[in-house]
Symmetry: C2
Subunit: 270 residues, 2 copies
């Protein structure tokens, strides 16, 4: 393991640089993001993410030794003051550990080709709420999706809120930043594009979702863009027998993802 260095002051140059990673602009520029808390950081290591640095406080020596130290090879490790952790933290009660993790570049060529199974991707078409984004990543991971494709005007994937609400699933789901290219290439490969729409006529439960599929999820307020709706092979409607006009975006996405799980399971049993 590398030597552990001490950082006491939040004005330390490294800390000032790390703090900038709270902003999307700097995350994109540096290709790094902050991961806070033992459970999430351990999950990042387990998932094989490249961790650039780890900072923890003296009081958390035991937790560090137990959960994080076993993974440390060449990572920079800092014993930091409470002040320093507070400076980098986004929570009211910091857990005393923060990691600096590399953003993986996922691209079309990474997609495993399977001749046995069909694949599912989620395309985010202007989704804005980080909590919804994290929840969608978690559902996508649970449902066996192969990745998340970021369309235009979609909120950044590597903010603290997205990571936290993904419950660590973000470390397991490829995130395709170059969304429009990725979408075109999958469509060219024969993938079907399905979108949920309040104006749709096709009932979700009557459609076959078991093929190679991209599910697009729109903006919380305005839904799917005209551009994506026109590319879609199917406009799906989730039947709502009650009075509400619409569902939360992450809920609508998850209902479609798990209807696919149900259909796939059915075909396996029959």
């Amino acid at each position: 393991m590398t030597n552990i260095q001490h950082i006491e002051s939040r004005n330390n140059g490294k800390i000032r640089a790390f703090k900038k990673l709270k902003e999307k602009k700097h995350r994109t520029k540096e290709g790094l993001y902050l991961v806070e808390g033992f459970r999430l950081l351990e999950e990042a290591f387990k998932a094989g993410k490249t961790v650039h640095a780890v900072l923890y406080t003296e009081e958390k020596e035991e937790d560090f030794s137990r959960y994080i130290r076993p993974y440390i090879e060449r990572e920079e490790v800092y014993l930091a003051s409470q002040d320093v952790i507070m400076e980098l933290s986004s929570t009211v009660h910091p857990q005393g550990i923060i990691g600096i993790v590399s953003i993986d570049e996922s691209s079309f060529t990474d997609i495993p080709i399977s001749y046995e199974d069909t694949s599912l991707f989620i395309y985010l078409d202007g989704l804005q709420d980080p909590g919804n984004f994290g929840t969608i990543i978690r559902s996508a991971h649970a449902s066996g999706a192969k990745g998340i494709i970021l369309g235009r005007n979609t909120v950044d994937a590597f903010s603290e809120k997205v990571i936290r609400s993904s419950m660590g699933s973000i470390f397991h789901m490829p995130i395709y930043q170059n969304g429009e290219e990725m979408l075109s290439r999958l469509l060219a490969k024969g993938y079907q594009l399905a979108v949920t729409s309040l104006l749709a006529k096709k009932n979700l439960y009557h459609e076959d979702l078991t093929g190679n599929l991209i599910v697009a999820i729109g903006n919380e307020g305005s839904g799917i863009t005209e551009e994506i709706a026109q590319k879609a092979d199917t406009l799906l409607k989730i039947p709502m027998p009650g009075g509400a006009e619409s569902l939360n975006a992450a809920v609508a996405a998850s209902i479609v993802l798990f209807e696919r799980v149900r259909q796939l399971e059915w075909t396996q049993f029959s």
Copy 2:
């Protein structure tokens, strides 16, 4: 319409009293809660809620006249300063209108008895996140559920975050505060209690959910309590072919609610 009174100072006695409604303790004591924004307040009126008072700023006279004035009968109406609205608001950019709405007491005797349809209730067993709560109310409303039953240690239903994330569905869903009594009475009436559990063996998609049903949703971290698990007729597992260990609580609830929608629709078609 009643006379419109002016309130300039946030130290006004009424304002100090209304501000206390940001806390659960005072909401429960007064039987009142705050509703912020034109869309939500209009929805409260539309749903027939009892509105005690409305406060709005001069700049919003036009929106007030258009969306809210048509509903005003004996409600107290105040033209308030920006300062006053800021004092009562829970958002960074207040919309310039706040209503004080009465908490309805829903009880067992309100439940409509139907000999044609089956009914669905949601029982919240220690749910803690207000955003999840609001999202569940919205999904419950969309799926045609008859009400939400609050179990022990469940977060308050009338906080600003719950109301906002319910997107107004809270005004349409009966909320049963006396949860344990309500649960006992429904069970005595022959309702089935289903809970989702990561330890369950019964696959959600193989179970019949079309009868009179209560779906219980547990705490975000610790799940269903032992007490409720023991009362349950069915422990349901949502199949997760991917790697994630669990789903967001509101997502899990919604997947069960909409699997019931699917099954009911199926029985109607066949």
